[in-house]
Symmetry: C2
Subunit: 283 residues, 2 copies
């Protein structure tokens, strides 16, 4: 059982990790990628105090050096579910369960919009996890929405299992090697069905499927944690960055604007301190 | 008329200034000292992301370099009052008035406790400003509470005006050169009086005076701004760092724990953005 689980490797997540390490807590840290693409892509950052005129790449490198220098390890795994169970949390990350007394969500804001019906059919024909649910669709007809090159091996694994796979890559330069794959270069807008999802809907047509896999770098907070209160796409937090769920905290862009490095780093710091206070209250 | 006035030169104040500069606002920035003593005194800071293992002195130097490199000027003046007047604020800083549409308080937490009666008699026998009110006590008997060597020239100016001055230095190594000064090495606990303050009270005795000057590096927020809501010594703020007074924001240690550099820098950043949003709403 961990004291704290952190989800997300942007500035807020790194800041939370660094602070928890200093505060001597037993924590585990997940992210689907080693560093934040959004930070890396920033051209010039002038307002992160102490590092004037850095590029996003330099900032990302400096932040990474900071946590690596403290022997903090990031687990490159996508967390697809956070469940409340008897006074603690269970996190599902690529087919394995992790138990933690508290959680800090630093999931950023999603660039990609959710599909209509995605949340509704999650677990009923819609899945985020190839290794968790792939075997359920052996010899069946599936669709795979894939948002990043790094998920291509998962897509190919799913294609191999399936009878036929409609693959929808949302980026350029895709390479999907499978005789069962049919590339569909259209944007799906909706997933629909009855008891289970059975249709992927496009603007001008639809495809019948047995299931839809969405391979995306992050899962929206409200999908991740059942019952988490949010407003306009942002997690509702109090001044101490606690949420409506006891023991669950949030920091960074996912808590709202302004989307700023300094805000995220500050919130990661505060959330770590609040989690430690919460842990003390459990004793 | 300025867009924004910032009070305080700790990490929150510097962060607010840097952000307002980038956001192209016309702001004025006050502090009674060039940099935060509290930052300078920190031994080792490990959790300010991007600058691992810096001393407080190095951090202060790095922050100062950041704003000086952007040609931002700090006005070394103590603000002793912030008044709301017809849709804007008037700041009183060492006998001069400054007008601003919005204000960001980054005043930190006070190490020194207020005296009993200090707030009650402010402006009625108690003053924070030698140059503003000194002439009112010409040839009178005054007490001077002085908390830092840097205020000694103000104390001597007051001694010179007075008939007699009881000087209470709250630090070691004081040098007050005035034939009218009598050094009192006791801690005052209270200032009392009727319509006006006329007594400084110690644990075991009291002194009759015509007025009391308190020369301190900062003025507590609730004294500074009439009607500002606070709780347990911290200014009450919303998530966007607005206070109960429209156009007035607060950031850093003055808004509450944890007292952390990253939190302060993040809050200075957010407060600057919120002030800019407020300015836009005025149009």
């Amino acid at each position: 059982m961990y004291d704290v689980a952190i989800i997300g490797s942007g500035p807020a997540g790194i800041s939370a990790a660094v602070n928890l390490k200093i505060l001597g807590k037993n924590f585990i840290w997940f992210s689907s990628r080693a560093s934040s693409k959004k930070v890396e892509r920033a051209e010039l950052v002038k307002n992160y105090l102490g590092l004037p005129n850095v590029t996003g790449g330099e900032l990302a490198w400096t932040f990474q050096n900071h946590f690596e220098g403290m022997n903090i390890k990031l687990n490159e795994k996508l967390v697809t579910g956070v469940y409340q169970t008897e006074g603690h949390f269970t996190l599902l990350a690529e087919n394995e369960n992790y138990l933690s007394k508290s959680v800090i969500l630093c999931t950023g804001v999603q660039a990609e919009k959710q599909l209509d019906g995605e949340e509704e059919f999650l677990g009923r024909g819609v899945s985020y996890c190839a290794t968790c649910d792939g075997f359920l669709y052996k010899d069946k007809k599936i669709a795979i929405l894939i948002t990043d090159k790094k998920f291509e091996h998962e897509a190919e694994y799913l294609c191999g299992l399936s009878d036929k796979a409609y693959v929808m890559p949302m980026y350029n330069g895709y390479e999907i090697n499978s005789p069962k794959a049919e590339i569909v270069l259209k944007n799906p807008v909706k997933v629909s069905g009855g008891m289970k999802a059975d249709k992927v809907v496009f603007k001008d047509c639809e495809i019948d499927v047995d299931g839809l896999f969405i391979l995306r770098g992050s899962v929206s907070p409200s999908t991740l944690v059942h019952g988490l209160q949010s407003n306009d796409g942002h997690i509702l937090v109090n001044r101490d960055l606690s949420t409506n769920i006891k023991g669950l905290f949030a920091a960074g862009d996912c808590t709202g604007r302004p989307y700023q490095y300094a805000k995220s780093v500050g919130e990661g710091n505060v959330a770590a301190h609040s989690a430690v206070e919460y842990l003390a209250s459990l004793k």
